[in-house]
Symmetry: C2
């Protein structure tokens, strides 16, 4: 699924295994339910569910290798009967999860696992990491899409993501959130995401002159050229690009665009647009890439910068203003006992749950209710769907395109006041009466 | 090397391939030298080199697969002769790099590649990403080690790193920087890093009472138990731990420690220490894990908190206060021409370079000089070593333990004023006269 992911049970914290050893030794292995959810985050009024497909694929194949068991044995920490148990272990549980691209909010479970305690516990680290990074990056990308107000965005983050898994996840997440494409070739191949990119400054430097560099590029890619114009002097670069663009036109081809990569983007894009228009090249687009994030995108769009598409890189790819979510995986039910941990204002809701969403007639979301799994409140849609039953995936995943459409719909249906970049209103999330009652009991 | 890394030439931005197509079409393929370096960062007065071994391993095996070539072909962007060229492409270049664990500074090349232009360009995205994330996380971990002033640190970051590659890199980086161990089992197996971890809150909740949970754990791990004491009430938890600890002692075993995971760490650790000492358990250690980073570590150590070891997680694992470095890979030489790009205060030093470091007799570093590759200034040690020649690794890597020792030595030799967490002095980095002359010429 994600070619860069490690997904086996060894991608884990040691304590998952030591706890499992005690559960095994003490024969504590009732079915337990765990909830995966995010705690509130000051800069993230909403989240976007992602990483679910990757996790389901991995759980279906969750096995310890012989090599791993041998390594555990030689640590001297574990008894042979427990290691035998591990080497035969599969994931046999049930999983409910939100669909990828679904908007969700703090405290709402995005995924719930029910499985014998050893299995449901041992997958904790992997689940938090995988759903965590995908949700983190999709949420960040979604904020960029919202801020861009319809302008096209391209993921340029690969070189600065925190490693290869994050690089792949960023490209997929960005596309899911509504980006038009990515510079990431492997992601393009893996998930059929449109790829884009043309030249670096080093390319321009590799030729005797800028004009020569542009001309060489146009010769090889006569209908697919975007010239980077700021290697020496941006406005002169725009004139050089226009000159080559006009020649391309005379030869029956067409320059796709120019790219700005430094300087005052509003000022430069305005002047460059003028140069291109004066050269009768109104069809040549302006691309910009310059440390963008949702905040600078919003400012440039509001200022009316004539930029047709933005390359969004580093800050999106590491979610720079919020580089982690407080995503947690908490036991909420063990056997027939509902479990709640209360510590210093950190809420964990006991019991198997469901998230219900209500909408107005025009589709706009009015609020969510976190209820018990078996509730069926009128006029509300349950968001958690069964994705695994007895360790096997249920049905097939929706495609990335379908998830992308789901998110696009969600983003429209979420009112602007809930997704403002500063001082957003708090989206209403209620707890059902029955779930409240349950909390009192445990 | 890093089991979670993607290392092939497809882990790249599309523009590396479009540029290569033009270079191929226009027969521009002189040997080029590229410098990999970090631009200054307000919160990072020094960096620690890492990711070098991973990169050298990958470059030695750098090949396009048939499948990848077919995919490129069906994009319709590339001509058959260029695709033939790619499918036969190997990395045949020379690489100089700093040793892992070496402290370095802004503008200093941590790695320089010399290879035919197509090869040296195409690896850009991969190099920046891989050396970037390893250097980012090692540098962050190094700051934690410095702040902990000799106390033991354990990497607990796996669940919150930005994906699996970053999770593996964080564990290795933390150990390289001087952490004692990691919770990450796969990293323990991969790099022989000591692993550690015992129980989560869910473990305590899984039993009828806290005492029962501790007793069960002690039964399975009689000489390797650390009890998590804050699930219900921390001080009562400490008393429960002491009670079970005393029983373990009576039976000829020994409680290793307790772990605090929430609340006021100074206050709680002091009170818990008192409880343990009163129970005549002075040997029982106090572990703490609670959103630590270098800043909170420094404060707690300065306040004299009786904490023996710190679990350091999320903020270290994502380098939260600086989640990316401005690491760049710039062409500095093409054929016999030295190349320099000048843009808005961003310095790129033309020419093949070397970094020279000077020390006092007591070993302390006095300053660095960035010079030309062939300079040999008196009394200075060159930091860039040849690690690849004609595409093949030169010699063998030092072990992770050796790199760890190198960094420990470096950290001592770097004066405190250059590594203070706030307002550090700027470490002196000069540019040699000959290198300055060269800049004027190109």
């Amino acid at each position: 699924m994600n070619p860069s992911a490690i997904a086996g049970p060894f991608f884990t914290d040691l304590y998952e295994l030591t706890m499992a050893a005690v559960y095994f030794g003490k024969r504590v292995n009732d079915r337990a339910t765990f909830s995966l959810f995010a705690r509130p985050h000051a800069n993230r009024p909403f989240f976007v569910a992602a990483g679910i497909h990757e996790v389901v694929d991995a759980l279906a194949q969750f096995r310890f290798s012989d090599d791993e068991i041998r390594w555990l044995q030689q640590t001297g920490r574990f008894k042979p009967d427990f290691l035998d148990h591990l080497s035969a272990l599969k994931f046999t549980g049930d999983v409910l999860a939100m669909s990828e691209g679904e908007v969700f909010f703090a405290h709402e479970p995005v995924l719930e696992v029910t499985a014998p305690l050893i299995e449901s516990q041992i997958i904790e680290t992997y689940l938090i990491n995988t759903v965590g990074v995908a949700t983190l990056l999709t949420t960040k990308a979604a904020r960029c899409v919202h801020a861009a107000a319809g302008r096209s965005l391209i993921d340029f983050s690969l070189r600065r993501t925190q490693g290869s898994h994050a690089g792949m996840t960023a490209a997929r997440s960005a596309y899911l959130a509504g980006f038009s494409g990515t510079s990431n070739v492997l992601a393009g191949k893996q998930w059929a995401i449109p790829v884009s990119g043309t030249m670096a400054h080093s390319f321009v430097s590799a030729f005797e002159s800028e004009i020569e560099a542009f001309t060489a590029y146009a010769e090889i890619f006569p209908d697919n050229s975007v010239f980077l114009i700021d290697t020496y002097d941006t406005l002169q670069g725009a004139k050089n690009a226009a000159e080559v663009g006009m020649r391309m036109k005379e030869n029956g081809h067409s320059l796709v665009g120019i790219r700005l990569d430094s300087g005052d983007m509003l000022e430069l894009s305005t002047q460059v647009r003028r140069i291109l228009d004066q050269a009768e090249l109104p069809e040549v687009k302006i691309f910009a890439s310059s440390g963008f994030d949702e905040y600078s995108l919003e400012r440039l769009v509001a200022a009316g910068a004539p930029i047709d598409a933005f390359g969004v890189g580093t800050r999106m790819g590491v979610s720079a203003d919020a580089p982690y979510l407080d995503m947690v995986y908490k036991m909420v039910c063990l056997g027939d006992r509902d479990v709640r941990k209360v510590s210093e204002g950190k809420i964990t809701l006991a019991g198997k749950k469901q998230v219900f969403r209500r909408s107005r007639d025009d589709g706009r979301f009015t609020g969510d209710e976190i209820g018990m799994r078996d509730e069926r409140p009128d006029g509300a849609s349950p968001l958690l769907k069964r994705v695994m039953k007895n360790g096997r995936p249920v049905g097939s995943f929706c495609t990335l395109e379908e998830s992308r459409e789901r998110f696009a719909g969600n983003l429209k249906r979420l009112e602007d006041r809930f997704k403002k970049l500063s001082d957003p209103d708090l989206y209403p999330v209620f707890i059902s009466e029955r779930l409240k009652e349950l909390q009192k009991k445990c």
